[in-house]
């Protein structure tokens, strides 16, 4: 790391470390990419561009691929055939396999113990390091910022750039620090905090910025919770979200498959800790949030910032767009959204498909039943999460409660593999986007935490999970 006298933010330090050619009035910076993650949906046209130019991937050793978006979450039939939703979906997965073989890129394929949703899989393999530059043709690449990496989503043209040159053309975004003071109350999850942060920033409020999350409440989060927080930075319009690496970061990474070998690990860890923002470093903008007032949250509109504490009256719409969103959701201003029957509950995604998320959901469901008429689907974020959950018996808890226990994948988060919410149905989902039709044409989505999702499955209406956890404590 080059030494500099000026105090720098973590983002500045990571940026500076990756500048191949500095930006000028005429051209953006050329940035070097340490880790390029690839999945089946946003890569085929990029590989086609390389083929058209007769080029091979420049650094297959810095590239890692998985299949997650188009993949069925139901097991293969007796003949071994996977139940792909369409031939196109099957062909897309096949195309990635062919491209990876041709370019010598590691692929977490069907038979791999590593396979998973790209942003769940890479951190658990130890591919994501503090201070690294991580990109993927996927906007939720922001997740990896939880490790103090600079990580953001890119388009397919840029996927081609990175494949061919390991570099990216970028203008430097501005710096925003979101300081979260205080402590989260019992029964309030990282997802609740995340939704509260987005509600405070507004849907486009982070636009043009890289966010650093700082403060006592952020320090107190474990790595999985930090990933939930960073994951949804893009929902406030920000390019990336970052949390300074600390002892929790180091403890999480130690011993994972792709971290530096044991004899050099401690040296790497010491260097990683140096990425934290220097005292006195300047941000372009600062926002402060008090964690101690955050309650379990749920969205009521069709953008992720339209969120309120569960049970609070839905705010009166302030614009035509907000009015239309309420109309689409079938909710009325001034009323709580807890009166509407829920049809579908989804637990999973790169926001909340990790083991701690499944534990939270299972803790509510244990000994209870999903209300009749509600369909609940649980898709672990990766094969590793699935194995761990099964070792702990969480799969039994879900199945005994009447939920469907699926194979790892994006599933109902993006609804392109056949797992979807039917037109008009109301879903409580632990994913990250409640856009019109995101979970299927006409689907109405409420975003919430895993515990809220599970409590809502039991009650059949959107429910503050603390009602269930308190009841158990007092039993």
């Amino acid at each position: 790391m080059p030494q500099s006298l000026e105090p720098r933010t973590m983002f500045d330090k990571v940026w500076d470390d990756h500048v191949v050619l500095a930006e000028s009035a005429d051209a953006p910076a050329i940035l070097y990419v340490d880790l390029h993650l690839v999945h089946e949906v946003t890569s085929p046209q990029a590989f086609a561009e390389l083929a058209a130019r007769g080029r091979k991937a420049a650094r297959p050793d810095r590239t890692f691929a998985t299949i997650d978006h188009s993949t069925p979450t139901l097991p293969p039939d007796a003949s071994g055939a996977r139940p792909f939703v369409t031939e196109a979906a099957a062909a897309q997965v096949e195309t990635l396999r062919r491209n990876c073989a041709e370019h010598g890129i590691r692929l977490a394929d069907w038979d791999s113990a590593d396979r998973g949703v790209v942003h769940v899989m890479a951190p658990e393999l130890g591919l994501t390091h503090p201070g690294a530059m991580v990109v993927c043709g996927d906007s939720h690449t922001a997740t990896h910022g939880a490790f103090g990496a600079l990580a953001f989503g890119i388009g397919t043209s840029e996927v081609a750039h990175v494949l061919a040159t390991q570099c990216l053309l970028q203008r430097k975004p501005k710096r925003l620090r979101v300081t979260i003071d205080g402590a989260l109350r019992d029964g309030v999850a990282a997802k609740d905090l995340t939704l509260a942060v987005i509600a405070a920033l507004g849907f486009g409020g982070g636009s043009g910025y890289v966010i650093e999350y700082a403060g006592e409440a952020v320090r107190a989060l474990d790595m999985e919770q930090r990933m939930t927080l960073c994951n949804m930075s893009v929902e406030a319009g920000a390019r990336a979200g970052m949390v300074a690496p600390d002892e929790k970061t180091i403890a999480f990474l130690r011993g994972r498959s792709y971290v530096p070998a044991a004899d050099v690990f401690e040296a790497a860890a010491a260097r990683w800790l140096g990425y934290a923002t220097d005292p006195g470093a300047m941000f372009d903008h600062e926002v402060r949030i008090d964690a101690s007032v955050v309650a379990p949250m749920a969205t009521y509109g069709t953008t992720p910032d339209a969120a309120a504490p569960i049970g609070a009256p839905t705010p009166a719409p302030q614009s035509e767009v907000a009015r239309k969103a309420l109309e689409y959701m079938g909710f009325a201003a001034g009323e709580a959204t807890t009166a509407h029957a829920v049809d579908v509950v989804f637990v999973g995604s790169c926001t909340n498909g990790r083991i701690s998320d499944l534990r939270d959901a299972a803790a509510v469901l244990r000994g209870r039943k999903v209300k009749s008429g509600v369909r609940m689907l649980v898709a672990p974020g990766s094969e590793a999460v699935k194995r761990q959950a099964e070792a702990e018996g969480l799969d039994r808890v879900f199945v005994d409660a009447g939920a469907e226990w699926r194979l790892p994948g994006c599933s109902m988060c993006i609804a392109m593999n056949g797992d979807m919410v039917a037109p008009g149905q109301l879903a409580v989902s632990t994913s990250n986007r409640n856009f019109e039709g995101r979970q299927g044409k006409g689907a109405r989505t409420i975003l919430a935490s895993p515990a809220t999702a599970a409590a809502s499955a039991v009650a059949g209406v959107l429910t503050d999970p603390r009602a269930f956890t308190r009841e158990r404590e007092h039993a």
Binding site: P28, G155, T165, G204, V321, K441
Partner: protein, 193 residues
């Protein structure tokens, strides 16, 4: 490589909603393609077709003639959501060449420029005027970075210098990066030592 862009005079087609996200522009279920072509058929699909797949009568997107209406005017924060480049591919294939709004989502903006779909950001007053008057004749001059509405005086719009040059001169960004491989290799050697 995108078609070069210098100037365009055309009529506007208006979608007033703010926050038109990439799931509206091209719903996820159409992303299983491995090609860039043909996505116009699925652009704004759920706004144009009903649950049974029949064209919705009266949906303005079903009657717009993009030969004469090549400029999409949309509400604020256009293109928010995912990083899918399928969104600008779909808009271009549908027939739009320019999108005008008061603000654009970051990744969409970058993706659009790389494909020759010009995102033009305008001030709120100009935006309001365009939203209120569908079908206006507008001229976009990229060389001067100017937008002219009907016969009014032109207004300047911001455009990043490199993207502008690439569009005007047809510079291919991949070629530009490849030409800098020696610097990239030097960086790799430096990082390894």
């Amino acid at each position: 490589m995108p078609e070069p862009f210098t100037q365009l005079t055309s009529r506007t087609f208006v979608l007033t909603a703010d926050n038109i996200d990439t799931d509206q522009i091209i719903p996820a279920r159409f992303l299983t393609t491995t090609s860039r072509a043909g996505l116009g058929a699925h652009a704004f699909y759920d706004w144009r077709y009903d649950h049974a797949g029949a064209a919705i009568t009266g949906a303005p997107l079903n009657s717009v003639d993009t030969a004469t209406h090549r400029v999409l005017v949309a509400g604020a924060n256009f293109g928010c959501g995912s990083s899918r480049e399928h969104a600008p591919w779909a808009l271009l294939d549908f027939g739009f060449r320019v999108v005008i709004s008061s603000s654009f989502a970051d990744i969409f903006h970058s993706n659009a420029l790389k494909n020759g779909l010009l995102p033009v950001s305008v001030d709120l007053r100009t935006h309001g005027q365009l939203l209120a008057g569908p079908g206006m004749r507008v001229s976009i001059d990229l060389e001067r970075a100017e937008l002219r509405i009907e016969d009014a005086a032109p207004v300047r719009f911001p455009i990043e210098a490199f993207a502008r040059r690439c569009l005007l001169e047809g510079v291919d960004t991949m070629d530009w990066l490849l030409a800098r491989m020696p610097a990239i290799h030097a960086f790799e050697r430096g990082a390894a030592s």
